[in-house]
């Protein structure tokens, strides 16, 4: 028993900030949490499509390495006879005919290798392409792992998993009890990859019907993954009416509301100037963070 207890204490607790809908304030809130936490922590930006946490936390880069996704098909144009067998087999629309030769769009190829099997000329092989960059940096609050997917690329879920894995490895090494992850929008492959196996999901919602609809979907995803979650309402006073509606829905559904932060043009200005708006968000933010910690330790 004592041993188990120790393992639990050693394992860093990972909080992932997601939202379903984009633009609700995930990154700004994650940066505030990074600034407010009082224990050693490691930060990660798991929005590898549109990484923004680094813009506000300004990490001093210590490491950068290329990311190679799955190998994808490549046609040897010199030997291709243009029969089109590969194109007919491909389920992902990744092969097109150009000047009588098959050409693979690596942005759409999922690397299944089916085309290699059907090609009568055996002129297709698989190659690894650089699909992005993985980075580590030092912020004022601790190390940060982030990445950028090559625009138009595939395999964002793989890169998300890699960013989180590195953050966890380093947190474990440093005996840092906390990992703070800025997550991607949506409920698809990147969002699923950012939430799988985390400790707590903080779901940021703004008072709009759209954001509420998206919140419902991201909660469905958390439930699918058996992941504890809590709701944070951002810019609640943009529409007190819809905020009330969201609170009522949360109460009726049994979704815990962790706090609500108001809108203030000074917050937008601070972020625009590259400052973390902890002061501007004031007491509601401090209360939200305390509620997150309480929910995390529950």
């Amino acid at each position: 028993m004592a041993r188990d207890r120790e393992d639990i204490l050693m394992s860093p607790f990972e909080i992932v900030v997601v939202s379903g809908k984009g633009g609700t304030g995930k990154t700004t809130l994650t940066a505030c949490f990074a600034a407010m936490a009082e224990v050693p922590r490691v930060m990660a930006d798991a929005d590898v499509d549109a990484p923004n946490l680094g813009i506000i936390l300004s990490p001093r880069e210590t490491e950068s390495r290329p990311f190679f996704g799955m190998k994808v098909a490549h046609v040897d144009a010199a030997r291709c006879v243009g029969c089109g067998e590969c194109l007919r087999f491909c389920r992902f629309g990744a092969i097109v005919m150009k000047d009588g030769k098959a050409v693979v769009d690596p942005g759409f190829c999922e690397g299944c290798g089916g085309c290699l099997l059907v090609c009568p000329e055996s002129c297709i092989d698989k190659r690894a392409f650089q699909r992005g960059v993985l980075r580590r940096g030092e912020t004022d609050f601790g190390p940060m792992w982030h990445a950028r997917l090559a625009p138009g690329g595939e395999n964002s879920g793989m890169l998300v998993a890699l960013v989180r894995k590195e953050a966890r490895r380093e947190a474990t090494e440093l005996k840092a009890p906390l990992i703070l992850v800025d997550g991607p929008p949506g409920v698809g492959c990147p969002a699923t990859s950012s939430l799988t196996g985390a400790g707590l999901a903080v779901l940021v919602v703004e008072p709009s019907r759209s954001a509420l609809s998206d919140l419902r979907r991201v909660i469905d995803l958390c439930r699918t993954l058996s992941l504890p979650f809590g709701v944070a309402i951002n810019r609640w006073d943009i529409s007190p009416e819809v905020t009330e509606e969201i609170r009522a829905v949360c109460d009726a559904e049994g979704w815990p509301v962790l706090g609500a932060v108001p809108f203030d043009e000074r917050i937008a200005r601070a972020v625009s100037d590259g400052r973390i708006p902890v002061e501007e968000m004031g007491r509601p933010l401090a209360e939200l963070w305390r509620a997150i910690l309480r929910r995390g330790s529950a």
């Binding site: 389920r91 138009g152 929008p185 698809g188």
Partner: protein, 280 residues
């Protein structure tokens, strides 16, 4: 003309701008391709219509025919088929990409495919015009499949103009929408986050050689100049929509500012004229 509305960053205002363009030109097809979080229907007041499933093949094993050779497991690149050197292989449906490689190599015809629902397409009439929406089933990761099927279904409407409300990001879902469009309209939020993501999505459109232009939204909320990006990608800003509390409040209630804000509607009219000058 098929116009994709994109932005890189989420929450920049793609859906508000897309809904405004639809309302500003009755008869254009409203197409929601942000299938992970579709919201265009909320802003256009879509209700009813018809729903059809989006299916994707997944592998399944007919155990009586299986000779336990293990070739299916060897060929699967996604780790969706487990085989332990003897006995029957086991398919994990949630990892299967439906690529069709395992039935191809199965010597006995035991590895087959069946359809699995990965999303739905809703279509009908919204705000007096044609409307179609793709919606990914939560728990599925077949975002691109649902987008592709929704685009295909959209051709049934035979509409002259398409407004395609795209997903955030710059990876395969966003690229799929841009690839299917004739032109791309990028919604720029003039904040440090917004411009960083805008640069990435401009790069995708430029790689795809799509005619591209910018519309600024929430002007005044940040003051970052766009001149450098416009020069770098040779794109123009067609129109600018200011950040106003009234637009934000309309959006909160699920209404498009086009209907509640005369200035917003006038800017939409100018945006349409600028789109025609730029893309035709």
């Amino acid at each position: 003309m098929k116009i994709a509305v994109a932005s890189g960053k989420g929450g920049a205002g793609k859906t508000s701008i897309a809904a405004s363009l639809v309302l500003g030109r009755p008869g254009s097809l409203a197409m929601d391709l942000d299938v992970e979080e579709p919201n265009l229907g909320i802003l256009l007041g879509f209700e009813g219509g018809t729903t059809r499933p989006v299916l994707q093949p997944v592998a399944f094993l007919e155990p009586d025919l299986c000779s336990a050779c293990g070739r299916c497991a060897q060929v699967c690149e996604f780790g969706a088929i487990a085989w332990f050197g003897s006995g029957l292989p086991v398919v994990n449906e949630s990892l299967c990409h439906g690529c069709g490689a395992c039935p191809l190599v199965c010597p006995t015809g035991a590895m087959r495919e069946r359809d699995r629902e990965v999303g739905t397409i809703r279509s009908g009439t919204a705000a007096g015009g044609p409307f179609i929406e793709g919606r990914l089933r939560v728990g599925s990761v077949s975002t691109v499949r649902v987008i592709d099927e929704t685009i295909r279904a959209g051709t049934e409407f035979k509409a002259h103009d398409w407004i395609m409300d795209g997903p955030p990001g710059v990876s395969c879902p966003a690229a799929t929408v841009l690839r299917a469009a004739d032109a791309a309209l990028m919604v720029a939020e003039p904040t440090p986050f917004g411009l960083s993501d805008l640069a990435s999505v401009l790069e995708v459109a430029s790689d795809l050689k799509k005619p591209t232009a910018i519309v600024v939204n929430k002007a005044g909320l940040g003051e970052r100049p766009l001149d450098d990006l416009c020069r770098r990608f040779s794109v123009k800003v067609l129109e600018s929509f200011p950040f106003t509390r009234s637009a934000a409040e309309a959006g909160a209630l699920g209404r498009c500012p086009y209907g509640t804000d005369a200035d917003w509607a006038a800017r939409t009219g100018r945006l349409w004229r600028a789109i025609e000058r730029t893309f035709s």
